[in-house]
């Protein structure tokens, strides 16, 4: 199904070869991709996943990128997409990290066992040499039976040789015992690759109609292949005895609680200065206030006024308070896009340097108590950027249970960057005591909610098993490319949700329902939370845009304690309408409704209790 759709995007032609780049995560595939092609690169989202595939032309042929994988199988979305693309390949260029040959050659040997014509790029040879690793690439070539080209892709070394080697791509040496197991199945499947995936119990390959006697035995085949890979590695790799390098020592320090937590805190402070100060206060002021509100919005408003009767429903929906072409565009491009790009930039640095899996390891203990595992740190960090975007990335979590817990935490207890700016702006003047109280209250709700869900929800969550690659200095070009691709993806995925949200709110406003809802909230906000009655407007605005909600509190005359209560309540209060839509899309309607009701309860329960404690 998915493969048919990507085919349409790519217009596969019989006279064109499909060349696919494949490799483990962070081996420099995208650097290869850009070095190999100087044409326009298109990025398509693989249907039903968060996975983007870059494609372009290489000479007369088609060049496709795939997500980083440790093997061809179906353990997650990335693997499924890579598997589908690899099954289409006429030739695969397998990028191998010379620093991690033992890990990477498993995929290489699997591709060879699949019978796919292969060229191996032995990348990062410079870094391997610096780390005292010597690789005999000629022996490696002989053992694998496919061309092996040493490369340093970031310096452009070996790229031309790879292009030249494509013509000589070969179906290498299959592991003999695996070849024996495959032999009886050859005629039952369209390709050797599918026969192998069938034997490896891949759920994507159905049993053939003809009776097959072969047992499916993934583990046995994996073991045979692993032994063969270890044999090859022993034959080609020589390591000079060296003391622990600085990178190895730093990697160790990042994992140890006593040094790892201060390093994490320092990284978060750096992120705060980059996103919270530079982007939110310099970049966004320019993009939102100067460009969008200064030039863009008046232009559109003028245009709409000329085309539609002022005051008409159409004019209101298009360019009114929550206008499709005014507020929605200004918010999405002027405010959210720079912030989201800032978050993706930071996340890409953490990922490419090898720091992210170490943060996941460090945070695993806390997250396990909340029914998640260390990997959930990724949507949580992204949630501080935009909850809508983070909810989409919960797909990378290992089970449905974890996805529900993470979505609920995001929807209820994680303030997004748009809101955080206003919150910090209001808390800071009250003094550090109130800031600590705010963070402690929201933090306690975050942890408490996770712990409760871990206890209440049936089943158990998956365990952490994560590769800790050698730390390295990330390359700026690579970081910028990742940031760009992910930000574009966010806009594509989120824009329709913001559009639908804006129309809904405009309709609620025109019909007078919005006013009715505000009136409904008035007594609750006034007598239970102890806030001025006008604050109810701010809460309802929070449904439109989280930062509108917080900003609506700005102008109200409130004592310090009241401000704290208001900010805590508005943080926990329902997610913005785009987030709600994405929650409904990603989870079931029932889960979405539960999260929505839960956020009402959390906001008013915790806010009300805090008001009592503060003596309001």
């Amino acid at each position: 199904m998915a493969i048919m759709q990507i085919n349409k995007a790519l217009i596969k032609q019989p006279n064109k070869k499909t060349i696919v780049l494949a490799g483990n995560p962070n081996v420099g595939k995208s650097v290869f991709f850009n070095a190999l092609t100087n044409r326009y690169v298109e990025v398509s989202n693989f249907p039903g996943t968060t996975v983007d595939i870059s494609h372009s032309a290489l000479g007369d042929d088609l060049l496709l990128d795939t997500p980083g994988i440790y093997g061809v199988s179906s353990f997650n979305d990335e693997e499924k997409v890579a598997r589908d693309v690899i099954l289409q390949a006429d030739v695969v260029i397998n990028i191998v990290n010379a620093l991690h040959l033992e890990r990477d050659l498993f995929l290489t040997q699997q591709l060879i066992d699949m019978g796919i014509p292969l060229v191996v790029a032995l990348n990062m040879m410079d870094e391997a040499r610096q780390n005292g690793i010597q690789i005999d690439h000629q022996t490696l070539e002989r053992e694998l039976g496919v061309p092996v080209i040493p490369t340093v892709a970031v310096e452009g070394k070996g790229i031309e040789e790879i292009k030249a080697a494509l013509a000589g791509a070969a179906q290498g040496n299959r592991v003999p015992r695996i070849a024996d197991l495959l032999a009886p199945l050859r005629d039952c499947f369209p390709s050797v690759a599918e026969a192998l995936l069938y034997l490896e119990e891949d759920p994507s390959v159905k049993s053939p109609r003809t009776a097959v006697k072969a047992e499916r035995r993934q583990e046995e085949i994996y073991l045979i292949r692993r032994r063969r890979v270890n044999e090859i590695v022993n034959a080609v790799v020589k390591e000079s005895a060296e003391g622990a390098s600085f990178a190895a020592r730093l990697g160790q320090m990042m994992l140890r609680i006593s040094t790892g937590l201060p390093i994490l805190l320092l990284s978060l402070v750096a992120m705060y200065y980059f996103i919270g100060v530079f982007i939110a206060q310099v970049v966004v002021v320019f993009t939102e206030k100067v460009v969008m509100e200064g030039y863009y919005a008046p232009l559109v408003e003028g245009l709409v006024e000329r085309l539609f009767a002022p005051g008409s429903v159409t004019a209101y929906i298009l360019a009114g308070e929550y206008g499709l072409f005014t507020m929605t565009v200004v918010y999405l491009l002027g405010l959210l896009m720079p912030l989201v790009a800032g978050f993706y930039f930071s996340l890409s640095i953490m990922e490419d340097s090898g720091y992210l899996p170490r943060v996941a390891t460090l945070m695993d203990r806390l997250l396990v108590k909340m029914g998640l595992n260390g990997r959930a740190i990724i949507p949580i960090i992204l949630g501080l950027g935009c909850v809508t975007m983070a909810t989409i990335t919960t797909r990378l979590l290992g089970s449905k249970r974890e996805r529900i817990i993470a979505t609920a935490l995001l929807g209820i207890a994680i303030p997004c960057s748009a809101q955080l700016g206003v919150i910090f702006g209001m808390v800071a003047p009250l003094g550090p005591g109130y800031l600590v109280l705010y963070l402690a209250t929201v933090g306690a709700v975050f942890v408490g909610l996770g712990v409760i869900m871990e206890k209440v929800l049936p089943g158990r969550s998956t365990d952490l098993l994560i590769d800790l690659p050698v730390l390295r200095v990330p390359r700026l070009g690579n970081i910028l490319r990742k940031t760009y691709v992910r930000t574009v993806h966010f806009i594509k995925e989120a824009a329709p949700l913001f559009v639908v949200g804006a129309v809904l709110i405009s309709l609620l406003h025109i019909s007078g329902l919005l006013q009715k809802i505000q009136d409904l909230f008035r007594p609750l906000v006034n007598s239970w939370l102890g806030l001025p009655p006008e604050a109810s407007t701010a809460f309802i605005m929070g449904i439109v845009r989280r930062d509108f909600g917080a900003a609506g509190l700005y102008a109200l005359p409130m004592a310090a304690g009241q401000t704290l209560v208001a900010l805590v309540a508005i943080t926990l209060f329902v997610p913005c309408i785009a987030s709600i839509l994405v929650i409904l899309k990603e989870r079931s309607a029932k889960d979405g409704l539960l999260i929505w009701v839960g956020s009402f309860i959390a906001a008013f329960l915790v806010g009300g209790l805090l008001a009592r404690v503060m003596g309001i």
Partner: protein
Amino acid sequence: MTLEQAKTGDRLIVKNISDPQMRVKAIRFGVMEGVEVTCTEKLPYGPVVIRRGRQELAVGRGLARRIIVEPA
């Protein structure tokens, strides 16, 4: 003993990983029955970090409890 009971610096032989999916994933990283690994770090109540050659892996506590090892 289980991997959970290992101490930092211990050299261990993997005897059994009871979870079938994790067993297969671990094979891809070169960790399987009969292989020697070193415990390089143990976070209090958190993951156990093991190394085999240049491959370093963080194993969640729950999984470490289900991996049987013996001293090398």
